[in-house]
Symmetry: C2
Subunit: 235 residues, 2 copies
């Protein structure tokens, strides 16, 4: 572990990833008590549905966020690669993609598609957190917007665990609904690799690397705050 107090030297890739993973280990939302309860199988059906319905607000905002990031990327080749994230969520056509897969997951958990699309279930705290993320990407430099996506480095472990947990503890959710998570297992690593290489080449001073890591912490706060709101439920 490097000494965070004294060293102000540019981190190499290994050191940067070490700092990144340290953030994941301390701040990623898999540590949230609500997720701990989800993983041990003790969420009620209502709580599980509340999580699924609210998380849809995050899902539906991802292509908006990614379009904003794409509008800022300086290189055509990087826009082409980033576009794949939008394709993943919006779909190649209207009949596929992550947003539709999440709607199907929600239906498999007994949530009406129309109610979800109409946004009846979205809690204010979830909306505020997700909008903060979209606005962060709208208003900051492109490499900070990219850095905020690097929670994807931590995602695959959680996602593969989630598939197992849902199958084991929440059998009332139709297993066909898990396609979203299965797709993310290959998408997230591809995306985080691209994101990481962009951040490493743009953040060419220790100060910029530090800002990039703060962007990841910010994103962890967004995800954590969403789960806080979901845990608390409606007032």
């Amino acid at each position: 572990m490097i000494d965070l107090q004294t060293s102000r030297q540019l981190l190499n890739e290994e050191q940067f990833v070490e700092r990144l993973k340290h953030i994941g280990e301390t701040k990623y939302h898999d540590k949230h008590p609500f997720h701990a309860r989800m993983h041990e199988g003790s969420l009620s059906k209502t709580e599980m549905q509340r999580w699924i319905a609210n998380r849809f607000y995050y899902q539906k905002c991802l292509p908006i966020k990614d379009s904003l990031v794409m509008s800022k990327l300086p290189e055509r080749s990087d826009r082409i690669r980033w576009r794949e994230r939008i394709v993943d969520h919006d779909g190649r056509t209207e009949d596929d993609g992550g947003i539709l897969a999440w709607l199907r997951f929600a239906e498999a958990a007994g949530i009406s598609r129309n109610e979800l699309i109409e946004g009846k279930h979205f809690l204010p705290g979830v909306v505020f957190a997700v909008d903060a993320y979209v606005n962060y990407c709208r208003n900051n430099e492109w490499w900070l917007a990219v850095a905020s996506s690097l929670t994807e480095v931590f995602a695959p472990t959680l996602v593969s665990y989630r598939i197992e947990v849902i199958e084991r503890h929440y059998p009332w959710i139709n297993a066909e609904g898990l396609t979203y998570f299965r797709n993310r297992l290959s998408q997230a690593p591809r995306d985080s690799q691209h994101g990481l290489s962009l951040v490493l080449s743009a953040a060419d001073t220790y100060e910029k690397q530090d800002l990039a890591l703060k962007a990841v912490e910010f994103k962890c706060d967004v995800l954590w705050s969403m789960v806080d709101a979901i845990q608390n439920g409606e007032r």
Copy 2:
């Protein structure tokens, strides 16, 4: 012709398109003296190269503008259709697309690709006009941003004429360089049809239709102002 002074009633599609075409007939940049000279074959090689090089700034900003518009479109199905514009310009891969086609057109006209990418030829007036267009789309409501793209309704006539003009009057430009224009002949009508249907359904009052038509006039001003700057050349 409807009476613009007295009628404040919602226009039907035919009336809206009539107003739109009237804007095209009076304000589209094909009427610019510089373009008139281009079409009669009297531009010097330097002038023609100046137009090609500066127009590249517009081309390279299109996917940025379209990513911003895509970030605002409320429907997933419309984002999927709008995404095709980005694919058209950025390319399916790095080896195709309109930006690359314009670089090849420029090379066919004897302009160095590297100089063009470095932006050495961009005149301030061109940059200001194009940036005004991108910022218009960034800062306005989505249907106004979409409306500003409706100059595409007028484009195919000009583009097909341009292919003929370049082949006839500027034979020093390698004919293989004209791929960009040939591709636009099918892309622009598809895009303008989608744009028109979006604007017609969103602009549901006469006042909004009027704003949408003003967005088209603004876009005509952008294109005209670019040609003004190109005509004047460097100070």
